[in-house]
C-alpha cells in the first residue's frame, strides 16, 4: 500500500508532458484491452455454443447410425462407428478434438468406446450422477466432461431410438482445451498488440505532449520570471497555434504587460504618496496595536530623531497627550499608554506634545484614525499631526491680547466701578473741606466715603483675582462662584442695558478645570449675551449635572455621545438670535457680526472648553434668542448653599 502511495506521488510529480504521454498510453492500452476482452468474451460464447451445437450434431447423427448396430448387438461395428466418429470429427471440428465416443446399452452397460482400453465392453458405472443423467436423457443433453479427463470439455448424450423405444445411449465427449488454448493465444495476442500499440503510442504521445507543453513551459518560465519581479526580461511567451494554449499565451502576455504597467503605476503612485507623506509639512506616523511606531515621516527628523531609531518604539515615548485626556480616559494606564488610548482619540483632534531628541518639545494637533480594513498585520492607527508650536504661541499672544482686550473692557467696567466710588470720595472730601459741616453730616459723609473705599477695595481685590498668571490648572471649581464673579464684572453692562439675570438649576455645580480660563469663557459668553440685548432682555443661566451629553458643535459632522459626569450650564439671551447662515462660522476665528471686536472670543472659548474635554454648543432661534451651552467635566466638591431662583438685579 505504501509502495503504491509512493509510486502515485512519483507519478503525480512527473512533468506535464510525461503525464500526458502516460495518460495517452494508458488510454490506448486500456481501450485496446477492453475491446479485446469484450471481443474475446463474445468469441468464447460463440465458440462454446458452436461446440455444443457441433457435438450435439455428431451425437445425434451417430446415434441414428448406431440404431441398427445396437439392435444386432454388433460390438465390432459399434466399436468401428465409435472409432470412426471420434477420428473423423477430430480433424474437422475447428480444433475441438473428440475425446471419446461411447455407446451404452439401455441398461447402462458399455457396448462400445472409441478407446476400449479406457472403458472395456461391459463396464457399468453405478451411482455416477453424470451416467445416470446420460442414461435418462430423452433428447440430446449436454453434460459435464468426466473429471478423470482433467481438461475442460463437454459431453453430449443422445438416445439411440427406434420407434420411440430407447435402445441405448450414445455419448460424445469433446475437449475444449483447443478452444481454450486458442482463446488464450488470442488474449496473449491482444495483450501483445495492445502493448505494441501502447509503445507505438508513446512516441506519438511524446510528440503531441511536447507540442502542447512546450508553449506551456515557456509560459511557465515567463510566469516564474514575473513572480520574481522581472518584468521586462525576455520575450513574450509565444505559441504558434491559435488553440487554447495559443490564446493562453496571448492572454498571458497581455496580462504580464498590464501587470507590469500596473506595477509601474503603483510604484509611481507609491512614490508619489511617499513624496506626499515625506514632503508633507505635518507629522505623519503609524502605530500598531501595541502602540509601536511602524512608520514615521521625514518631519520627525526635525525633532532630532533618526527615523530608523523610532521604528518599534512606543509612541508614548514621543507623544505626550494632555493630562486631561489621560485622566479622562478610563482605560489608560498611567505609566504606559497603549493603543487603546489612541483608539480613544480616534476621530478626535487633540493637542499633544512631541518630545524631541534634541531641543525643546513641539506642540502639535494630532488627528487619529484607525485603519482596520482587514489588514493582516491587524488594525493600525494613523496619526497626522500639525506643528502648532508657532501658532500656539500666536494663540497665546492672541489670548493674551484678548485677555487684554477683555481686560480693557473689564478695565472700562472697572474704571466705571472705580469712578463712582472715587467721585463719591472726592465729593465727600470736598464736602468735609468746606465750612458749615455739622458733625452729623461729617459722620454721614465719612461713612459714605468709607463705604466707597470698601467698594474700591473690593474692585481691586477682584481685579487682582483676574490678573493671575494663565497657568492652566485642573482643580475642582465651583462654577456658580465663577458665574458670580463674571456677573460682577459685566454687571455694569447688564445694568446699563436693563438686562435681568435669572439663575436656575442645581446648587452644587462643581467642575474640574482651570478657574481663570473658565472665568474667561464665562465672561465672554455673558458679554456676548449682554451685547445681544442692547435694549434689555433676560439672561437665563441654567445649570445641571448630566451623565451624558450629545456633543458636537454646529460645525461638527456627527454628534458625539459622551458618557460621564458632566456639568451643563446654559446661557440664554432673548436677543434677536443668530442668523442660520452665520451659525457655522460662529467659532471661526476672526468672524464677528459686531462692529467692534476681534472675532476671536468664541474661538478662544472653544479652545479652552475643548482643552477641558468639554464642549460649547450654540442654539439660536432668530427673533427669539440664543442659548449657548457650556459643558464641563464634573468634580466633587463641598456643599454650597442653594441658590434662590429669582431676580438678581444689581
Amino acid at each position: 500500500m505504501r509502495i503504491a502511495q509512493r509510486l502515485l506521488q512519483r507519478l503525480l510529480g512527473l512533468s506535464l508532458g510525461a503525464k500526458l504521454a502516460c495518460t495517452f498510453v494508458l488510454l490506448i492500452y486500456g481501450v485496446a484491452m477492453a475491446l479485446a476482452l469484450v471481443a474475446l468474451h463474445h468469441l468464447r460464447a460463440d465458440m462454446e455454443e458452436e461446440l455444443i451445437r457441433g457435438t450435439t450434431l455428431i451425437a445425434e447423427n451417430t446415434a441414428r447410425l448406431a440404431t441398427d448396430l445396437i439392435l444386432r448387438e454388433d460390438i465390432w461395428e459399434l466399436y468401428k462407428l465409435s472409432r470412426d466418429t471420434a477420428q473423423r470429427e477430430a480433424s474437422v471440428r475447428h480444433g475441438h478434438p473428440v475425446l471419446y465416443v461411447m455407446i451404452l446399452s439401455a441398461s447402462g452397460e458399455v457396448l462400445a468406446h472409441s478407446r476400449p482400453a479406457l472403458m472395456p465392453v461391459g463396464t457399468r458405472r453405478l451411482g455416477d450422477p453424470v451416467w445416470e443423467r446420460a442414461l435418462g436423457a430423452s433428447a440430446a443433453t449436454v453434460l459435464p466432461l468426466d473429471g478423470a479427463w482433467r481438461q475442460r470439455g463437454i459431453e453430449v448424450a443422445a438416445p439411440i431410438l427406434l420407434d420411440g423405444r430407447k435402445l441405448g445411449i450414445l455419448r460424445v465427449g469433446v475437449t475444449q482445451e483447443a478452444m481454450e488454448e486458442h482463446l488464450r493465444q488470442m488474449k496473449l495476442d491482444a495483450v501483445l498488440l495492445s502493448t505494441l500499440l501502447a509503445l507505438g503510442g508513446i512516441s506519438l504521445a511524446l510528440v503531441i505532449s511536447r507540442r502542447m507543453t512546450r508553449p506551456l513551459q515557456r509560459l511557465m518560465v515567463r510566469a516564474e520570471e514575473l513572480s520574481r519581479g522581472q518584468f521586462g526580461s525576455g520575450p513574450p511567451a509565444v505559441a504558434w497555434e491559435k488553440d487554447e494554449i495559443g490564446r493562453l499565451a496571448d492572454t498571458f502576455n497581455e496580462m504580464a504587460r498590464r501587470l507590469g504597467a500596473t506595477l509601474e503605476e503603483m510604484r509611481e503612485a507609491r512614490e508619489y504618496l511617499r513624496s506626499l507623506l515625506e514632503g508633507a509639512d505635518d507629522y505623519i506616523c503609524t502605530a500598531d496595536m501595541a502602540g509601536r511606531l511602524t512608520y514615521v515621516n521625514r518631519k520627525f527628523e526635525e525633532l532630532g530623531y533618526i527615523r530608523a531609531d523610532l521604528i518599534g518604539r512606543n509612541f508614548c515615548e514621543i507623544l505626550a497627550l494632555p493630562d486631561l485626556v489621560r485622566d479622562g480616559c478610563r482605560h489608560a494606564c498611567r505609566d504606559r499608554m497603549s493603543c487603546e488610548t489612541l483608539f480613544h482619540l480616534v476621530g478626535r483632534t487633540e493637542d499633544v506634545e512631541l518630545r524631541g531628541a534634541t531641543g525643546p518639545a513641539r506642540l502639535a494637533v494630532v488627528s487619529v484614525t484607525a485603519l482596520a480594513d482587514g489588514r493582516p498585520e491587524g488594525p493600525m492607527v494613523l496619526m497626522i499631526g500639525k506643528d502648532i508650536t508657532e501658532r500656539r504661541h500666536l494663540e497665546e499672544q492672541l489670548r493674551r491680547s484678548e485677555r487684554l482686550a477683555a481686560l480693557g473692557v473689564l478695565a472700562g467696567g472697572v474704571a466705571h466701578e472705580i469712578r463712582n466710588p472715587l467721585a463719591g470720595i472726592r465729593l465727600g472730601l470736598e464736602a468735609l473741606e468746606g465750612n458749615g459741616v455739622s458733625d452729623t453730616e461729617r459722620r454721614d459723609i465719612l461713612a459714605r466715603v468709607t463705604g466707597d473705599v470698601h467698594r474700591l477695595n473690593a474692585v481691586v481685590t477682584r481685579m487682582l483675582g483676574l490678573a493671575r498668571t494663565p497657568a492652566p490648572q485642573r482643580v475642582p471649581t465651583d462654577l456658580w462662584r465663577l458665574v458670580d464673579r463674571a456677573l460682577f464684572f459685566v454687571g455694569h453692562h447688564l445694568r446699563s442695558r436693563r438686562i435681568t439675570v435669572h439663575r436656575h438649576g442645581e446648587a452644587r455645580l462643581w467642575v474640574l478645570g482651570d478657574p481663570d480660563q473658565i472665568q474667561q469663557v464665562l465672561l465672554n459668553l455673558l458679554l456676548n449675551a449682554a451685547e445681544a440685548m442692547p435694549d434689555g432682555g433676560a439672561l437665563r443661566l441654567v445649570g445641571r449635572r448630566v451623565d451624558s451629553w450629545s456633543g458636537g458643535a454646529v460645525d461638527s459632522s456627527e454628534p458625539i455621545h459622551i458618557r460621564g459626569d458632566w456639568v451643563e450650564l446654559a446661557v440664554g439671551d432673548t436677543g434677536p438670535g443668530i442668523r442660520p447662515e452665520d451659525l457655522p462660522q460662529l467659532f471661526t476665528p476672526f468672524f464677528t457680526t459686531k462692529d467692534r471686536g476681534t472675532g476671536l472670543g468664541l474661538f478662544i472659548c472653544r479652545r479652552i472648553v475643548a482643552e477641558h474635554n468639554g464642549a460649547l454648543t450654540v442654539e439660536s432661534t432668530p427673533g427669539a434668542g440664543t442659548t449657548v451651552t457650556l459643558v464641563l467635566p464634573a468634580a466633587e466638591g463641598a456643599d454650597a448653599p442653594a441658590v434662590e431662583a429669582g431676580h438678581d438685579a444689581a
Partner: protein, 302 residues
C-alpha cells in the same frame, strides 16, 4: 457338285464345326463380353482390398473376360452367391469350401502359397501387455472371432475348446464376430477384446505392412497347419474357363505384373491343391458338430 440343300447343310455344319474348333484358340479380346463374377469376402481381404481387386482385374484380363467384383461381408453370403450361381469365382475360406463342396459341389480351383506352403495356421492373439499365456487363460474374457464360418477365425479355436471339454459359449464371458481378420488384430490391439483368433497369413501380412498395430498384440498360440484359403468356382462353370482361370492363377507369379501384385500380397504363388488338403478342417468340423449335438440333446436345466 451341285448347290443342293444337302451340300448347303454340310458346309454350314463344317463351318460351325470349324468355328467351334477355332473358338478356344481365338485371342481373349474377341471373347464373349459377359462379365466374370468374382467374389471376395471382406473377412479375408478387408485390409488389402485394393490389391485383391487388382489381382482380380489381372485375372480377368488373363482369361480375356471383363470382371465384376462382388464384395460380400460374410462367407455365408458368398456361399449363397455361389450356390445360386450368382458368382462364378470366389475367394473363400477352407471351412465354407468343405461345407459347400458337400452341399452343392463347389469346386476347388487353386490355393495361394504362403511361406512356401499352401497352408496356414490359426493364431490366438492377445494384447501385448496381457498376462494370458494360453487360450485357457482367456476363460471368462471377451473374445473375438472373425466369421462364424471361418476356419482359423472360429472353427479352430472352437475345436480347441471342445477338446478341452468347453464351448465358446460357456468358456468366454462373451464373444463377438468382427467378420474380419484384420479387424481382430485391431480389436486386440485397442483392447476391445481380451483375445482373438486370427488367420496367420493376415496377421503376418499386417505385421509387415502395419507393424505398429501388430506390435500392440502378441501371438500366444499357433494352431496346427490347415489348408490355405482357396479360390473356388461354382459348379457348372465352363470347363475351359475353369482351365483358363486355373492357368492364369498358376502363371501369375511368373507374370511381371501379376508377380508384382503377388509380391505385395506376400503370396508366393498359387498352386493347384488336392481336396484332401482340407481334410483336417473336415475332421474338426465333425468333432465340433458332434459336441454341439450332444449338448443340444442334453436335458435343459430348469
Amino acid at each position: 457338285m451341285a448347290r443342293t440343300p444337302v451340300f448347303r447343310l454340310f458346309t454350314s455344319l463344317i463351318g460351325c464345326w470349324g468355328f467351334l474348333l477355332l473358338l478356344p484358340s481365338l485371342p481373349s479380346s474377341v471373347a464373349a463380353t459377359e462379365p466374370l463374377r468374382i467374389g471376395i469376402t471382406g473377412v479375408l481381404v478387408e485390409h488389402n482390398r485394393a490389391l485383391n481387386e487388382q489381382m482380380i482385374t489381372y485375372i480377368g484380363e488373363k482369361v480375356g473376360r471383363p470382371v465384376e467384383i462382388l464384395h460380400r461381408k460374410s462367407y455365408q453370403e458368398m456361399s449363397d452367391l455361389l450356390e445360386r450361381g450368382l458368382a462364378d469365382v470366389a475367394f473363400v475360406c477352407g471351412l465354407p469350401y468343405v461345407i459347400d463342396r458337400e452341399k452343392f459341389g463347389e469346386e476347388l480351383l487353386v490355393s495361394p502359397v504362403f511361406n512356401g506352403k499352401p497352408r496356414y495356421q490359426s493364431y490366438v492373439i492377445v494384447p501385448r501387455d496381457s498376462d494370458a499365456k494360453t487360450l485357457e487363460d482367456l476363460r471368462g474374457k471377451l473374445y473375438a472371432f472373425s466369421d462364424p464360418l471361418s476356419n482359423s477365425g472360429k472353427l479352430v479355436p472352437t475345436y480347441r475348446l471342445v477338446t478341452l471339454g468347453e464351448t465358446p459359449e460357456n468358456f468366454f464371458r462373451r464373444y463377438i464376430f468382427t467378420y474380419s481378420h484384420s479387424a481382430n488384430v485391431e480389436a486386440v490391439a485397442v483392447k476391445l477384446v481380451d483375445g482373438a483368433s486370427v488367420d496367420s497369413y493376415v496377421w503376418e501380412y499386417m505385421n509387415v505392412v502395419n507393424p505398429q498395430l501388430t506390435g500392440q498384440t502378441k501371438v500366444i498360440e499357433r494352431s496346427p497347419y490347415h489348408g490355405m484359403t482357396p479360390v473356388v468356382v461354382r459348379p457348372g462353370l465352363d470347363r475351359a474357363l475353369k482351365r483358363n482361370l486355373r492357368q492364369a492363377f498358376l502363371a501369375m507369379h511368373r507374370d511381371p505384373r501379376g508377380g508384382a501384385i503377388l509380391k505385395q500380397l506376400l503370396i508366393d504363388r498359387f498352386e493347384a491343391v488336392p481336396d484332401a488338403l482340407y481334410d483336417s478342417i473336415r475332421t474338426m468340423r465333425r468333432v465340433v458338430e458332434r459336441r454341439y449335438q450332444r449338448l443340444e440333446a442334453r436335458p435343459k436345466a430348469p
